[in-house]
């Protein structure tokens, strides 16, 4: 077996995988929070109730912090297309470059121009204009998500392209490319998941303040909005968006679907596995407990539908780590189900008027907030590991995509550098976020404090 330390393809993949997973922890919260901010600004405008303004002001600070980390960790993502994935950029740049450039031109300019005014300009701008800046920021953040998902969808299910005479890809139908059915489904699924993250974080803070018996008025706003949106978003993630996403995978990436379910041999009445571990060397699922026929039904619409197994595909086209795809997918589904249950429980209690007095539930809500982050990361692992061994599904293999001139040592070195920097960044982020949470939503957000220090 080849020595992994000298295998550049492996390290380029880890490099991108690590930096993108870390990066996406932050945008998912900004996208999740953005419409909450708009909603609270709108409520404040309509009702004149100051508590909504306070909520928006507090979460705008958390938003700004996440946005800043998102910016500094996002720039390396764009650069890595050229530094680490030069062959891929050369092959498909004419297509994926469209959306990467659109993201900067349409989304980031909008978002970053207005975010300062949104976070700092409330007094100077007046309520109406301030509300509009919130809309601009939210639109910008969701647009950038759209362009990135169109880019990713092209890698999952390429459309609108042709092979140019020089062997690279060229765009032939920009409409088909931008309205890739895969992109629309994936966008809906991903944005619902971002809303799940946002609502769980907001509800968690509400639960924390309630348990601590501080900021009661704000805590109740967070709990109410967070659990309501949380329930809707958790359901949307599963149905219809998650369901349609699985059907997409079934239609266009059957080998991936087989890996996600550990289905080594094709069959009718295929199970959805509840419990079981794939054993790739023996090509079977250990101790499987499943719902008979559920996979056939979910993926293709009838219980009698035939689901193709991995053995029907050449081994070269199998995802290169089937266990990982399988576990990531199943854990994501499990977490998604638990999210619906938690939020249903919370909404039931709220409907009965007992949300704030139900200590067990508040503890669960408070401790649940990391899990949506885990679930979205697992979802992306399923999508990206499941797409393997392809970089662009069916067209271009991952092993052909990396930069030939960059050695594995260079890549490992910079990976360690990123790991170190991101560790420090994570500590700072947690420290500053923690401080905001302790200061609380009722503190005056003055201009940068501590300026009185004379020389």
């Amino acid at each position: 077996m080849e020595n992994t330390l000298t295998d550049p393809a492996f390290w380029h993949r880890i490099h991108f995988g690590f930096t993108i997973t870390y990066h996406y922890l932050f945008p998912q919260l900004t996208m999740g929070l953005a419409w909450f901010l708009v909603y609270w600004k709108w409520r404040a405008l309509r009702t004149g109730d100051e508590k909504y303004n306070r909520a928006a002001r507090f979460w705008a600070r958390i938003f700004g912090l996440n946005f800043a980390v998102g910016v500094v960790t996002g720039i390396p993502m764009e650069f890595q297309f050229g530094t680490n994935w030069a062959a891929f950029s050369k092959y498909s740049g004419a297509i994926i470059g469209q959306t990467l450039a659109m993201e900067g031109m349409f989304a980031f300019f909008l978002e970053s121009a207005f975010i300062g005014a949104f976070i700092w300009g409330e007094k100077r701008l007046g309520p109406r204009t301030h509300f509009l800046t919130a809309v601009c920021v939210a639109t910008g953040s969701w647009l950038s998500g759209f362009f990135i998902l169109v880019t990713n969808a092209f890698m999952q299910h390429p459309v609108g392209y042709a092979l140019a005479p020089n062997g690279t890809l060229e765009l032939v139908d920009v409409g088909a490319f931008l309205l890739n059915p895969w992109a629309l489904v994936q966008y809906a699924h991903n944005q619902s998941a971002a809303l799940v993250t946002g609502s769980f974080v907001i509800a968690a803070l509400g639960a924390f303040y309630t348990l601590r018996r501080i900021h009661p008025e704000q805590a109740s706003v967070y709990l109410k909005t967070g659990t309501l949106v949380g329930l809707v978003a958790s359901v949307l993630v599963a149905f219809p968006t998650g369901d349609s996403q699985a059907k997409m995978v079934g239609a266009y990436q059957p080998a991936t679907l087989a890996s996600m379910e550990g289905l080594f041999h094709g069959e009718r009445l295929a199970d959805v596995t509840m419990i079981g571990q794939p054993n790739v060397s023996q090509q079977r699922l250990e101790n499987p407990i499943g719902l008979p026929g559920a996979l056939s039904f979910l993926a293709y619409g009838t219980f009698q539908s035939y689901v193709r197994g991995l053995d029907e595909f050449p081994k070269d086209d199998w995802p290169d780590n089937i266990e990982l795809v399988y576990y990531a997918f199943h854990l994501m589904i499990t977490l998604g189900t638990i999210f619906i249950l938690i939020m249903a429980w919370a909404n039931w209690k709220r409907w009965r008027g007992r949300l704030e007095s139900s200590t067990a539930l508040l503890w669960v809500l408070m401790l649940a907030f990391p899990f949506p982050y885990i679930a979205t990361s697992l979802g992306w692992m399923t999508a990206e590991m499941g797409r393997q061994p392809w970089l662009i599904h069916g067209l271009f293999r991952t092993n052909n995509g990396y930069s030939q001139v960059v050695s594995s040592g260079d890549t490992i070195f910079t990976l360690i550098g990123f790991a170190g920097l991101y560790f420090v960044l994570g500590l700072l982020f947690l420290y500053l976020t923690g401080r905001e949470i302790y200061k609380g939503p009722d503190a005056e957000h003055g201009a940068p404090s501590h300026q009185e220090v004379p020389a």
Binding site: V71, V72, I75, A94, G97, L100, V406, D410
Partner: protein
């Protein structure tokens, strides 16, 4: 169409350097113009939360480059791998230092983040300057159109070159000097009190120093890459960009003479813009010269994406630019005028 996209790419990169370059300059001068914590907060507040808007130009440049010239992006980014990673890390540290510095009340922490701010900005100015020097000199392209640059080899400018040599180092230093002058000019507009006085004094001296440095760089370029100067002579568009440069220089002089700080900043922006665009226009149609074999050079046509992609992109790029400019116009009022440390913000949250 290829020439159009070459122009757009040059325009975007130039705009990035002109906008963020003034932040680099501010960072380089940070310890020199600001002597106590209060003054240092004033300097960082002068950058304010617009630093991310400036960095978007770099993101946009990257996007446009991979879209319009995929082969150029692939060759140059992977070829300068370690240097680019350093740039990324510096951008990261610079961003953090702006955001975090003002939020830590402890003086030692503030001093620490100020140091990070200064060093990352100095390194960024050096690296971007050296990168432009490398574009002018050329890189050791092989027959596959790729290369890999070490940081330095024997400091020669032919054959197996490194990122740094006796040409690119002076270019990098010239970049640092010019961006520092640019940053000082910006500070004269945004600050008051002792910081303002020091900035005015420094800006004048720095701009005077830029003149002989510019002559030296031009002479060096003539030695290293005579094609560039020949390109200026035959390409009329460079006359327009040089005119911008000269008009800018006049505005700088005039602005300082009459204490019109806004005019001086506009002038220094035009000077930088003119120099960089002249260079870019002189380079065309080549995008990367080869130091090993003149025939291995890459031209814009070699690297460009197919016509249809470029046409589509042109259809959305111009409206997008107009929108971006509109945002700036709307938002500019919000940030105009001198900064006030107790009122103005230093970052995004």
């Amino acid at each position: 169409m290829i020439a159009l996209w070459y122009g757009i790419l040059a325009f975007m990169l130039t705009t990035y350097i002109v906008l963020d370059g003034r932040n680099f300059g501010v960072g380089i001068l940070h310890w020199i113009v600001a002597r106590n914590q209060n003054e240092r907060r004033q300097v960082i507040a002068a950058i304010g939360p617009l630093w991310s808007w400036h960095e978007v130009w770099l993101v946009g440049t990257g996007g446009v480059m991979v879209m319009a010239f995929p082969r150029l992006m692939a060759a140059s980014f992977s070829g300068c791998y370690l240097a680019l990673m350093l740039i990324l890390w510096c951008l990261l540290l610079r961003g953090i230092s702006i955001e975090v510095g003002g939020h830590m009340s402890d003086r030692l922490w503030q001093q620490f983040w100020d140091a990070v701010f200064v060093f990352s900005n100095v390194l960024l100015a050096v690296l971007f300057g050296a990168a432009l020097g490398n574009v002018g000199r050329g890189v050791p392209l092989n027959t596959e159109g790729t290369f890999y640059l070490p940081f330095f080899t024997n400091f020669g400018i032919r054959g197996n070159v490194g990122l740094l040599d006796w040409y690119t180092v002076p270019v990098a230093l010239f970049g640092v000097l010019t961006l520092t002058a640019h940053g000082a000019t910006y500070l004269t507009m945004k600050t008051v009190g002792p910081v303002h006085e020091r900035s005015v004094k420094l800006a004048r001296r720095l701009w005077i120093a830029v003149i002989p440095a510019f002559v030296i760089i031009t002479v060096l370029t003539w030695f290293v890459r005579p094609e560039l100067l020949a390109g200026i002579a035959v390409r009329p568009v460079t006359w327009a960009t040089m005119l911008i440069c000269i008009a800018g220089a006049y505005a700088v002089v005039n602005g300082f003479r009459h204490q019109r700080e806004y005019q001086a900043l506009l002038g220094s922006t035009f000077v930088l813009f003119g120099i960089l665009m002249t260079g870019a226009a002189a380079l065309f149609p080549v995008v990367l010269f080869s130091t090993t074999d003149a025939n291995l050079r890459l031209t814009a046509a070699d690297c460009a994406a197919p016509e249809y992609s470029l046409g589509i992109a042109a259809a959305w790029w111009f409206p997008a630019l107009i929108l971006a400019v509109c945002y700036l116009v709307i938002i500019q009022r919000h940030y105009s005028g001198k900064v006030n440390v107790s009122k103005d913000n230093q970052g995004l949250y």
